[in-house]
């Protein structure tokens, strides 16, 4: 094992992303889907930070992008949960396979 650097973090991020993706495809519960999405978002953040750290250390874009993504993710999570709860009220279920209609 060599000294961890950019490629290690990129690999980690890719693995994490694919884990999230796997979860997104296999899960049926909307909350777990949301969790998978969070995983993927985190992997992206990792990427950004890694580039910021190793490729353009003199700049700060990566950092700020990560910050904004976290903010957006928070908003998204809040909205998603609002939708989930609403869906639960109307359908008595939050199974994504059962929520197919575009109405309601």
């Amino acid at each position: 094992m060599t000294e961890p650097g950019l490629y290690h973090i990129l690999t980690l991020s890719a693995l994490l992303f694919c884990t999230g993706m796997y979860g997104f495809f296999t899960r049926r519960n909307l909350i777990t889907l949301l969790m998978s999405v969070e995983l993927m978002l985190n992997s992206v953040n990792l990427n950004l930070v890694a580039f910021d750290r190793y490729v353009w250390p003199e700049k700060t874009e990566g950092l700020f992008f990560s910050l904004f993504i976290i903010a957006v993710a928070a908003a998204e999570a809040a909205l998603a949960i609002a939708i989930i709860i609403h869906l639960y009220r109307t359908h008595k279920s939050i199974d994504v396979q059962e929520a197919e209609e575009l109405k309601y």
Binding site: P4, T19, V55
Partner: protein, 172 residues
């Protein structure tokens, strides 16, 4: 292998393991807890990379905010003790295949591309610097995205209320 390296590997392993557990666990409450640990692992990596502020934000917003939200929604929507259904084997297989393909593609392209790593270590960005940059409208400032994000958050706030508001039974 230095201690620092070891820390990285441990953090990485922890992140991955909890990540995998998050997506496979059949008990949703546990999945949420695994997610929490996974996110903490990511925060650790930020620390390891010397991005303390980011790590702090990660812990506060993700671990403290989002995961708690998720837990609440689990409480609100889930009967206790109910296990999540096992996905079909074929589904698992194809999802894994897809994920693997994506992984392979990403890794291949990442390793085929040689990034021009700069040897310099980034200067530690202090919180005050971040704050100034965040609110500076000039060159290198992020005032506009900041405002946009705040509007977005407001919109999300209102949206949440609108969506989740309880409709009166006779209104339907």
């Amino acid at each position: 292998m230095s201690g620092s390296d070891l820390v990285f590997y441990i953090l990485a392993l922890m992140t991955l393991c909890f990540g995998v557990l998050t997506v496979t666990s059949r008990q949703i409450f546990r999945a949420a807890v695994y997610l929490l640990f996974c996110l903490l692992g990511v925060a650790g990596i930020y620390f390891w990379l010397n991005y303390q502020f980011l790590a702090a934000v990660q812990i506060v917003v993700y671990a403290g905010g989002i995961v708690v939200l998720i837990l609440f929604s689990i409480f609100l929507t889930q009967q206790s003790g109910e296990k999540l259904p096992v996905p079909a084997v074929s589904r698992k297989f194809f999802s894994a295949l897809a994920a693997f393909c994506a992984l392979a593609l990403v890794l291949v392209s990442v390793f085929r591309f040689s990034f021009a790593e700069s040897g310099k270590r980034s200067a530690l960005v202090s919180m005050s610097q971040i704050g100034e940059k965040m609110l500076s409208p000039g060159e290198g400032g992020y005032a506009l995205p900041f405002e946009v994000i705040s509007v977005l958050l407001l919109a999300a706030l209102i949206g949440c209320i609108v969506i989740a508001i309880k409709t009166k039974p006779d209104a339907r």
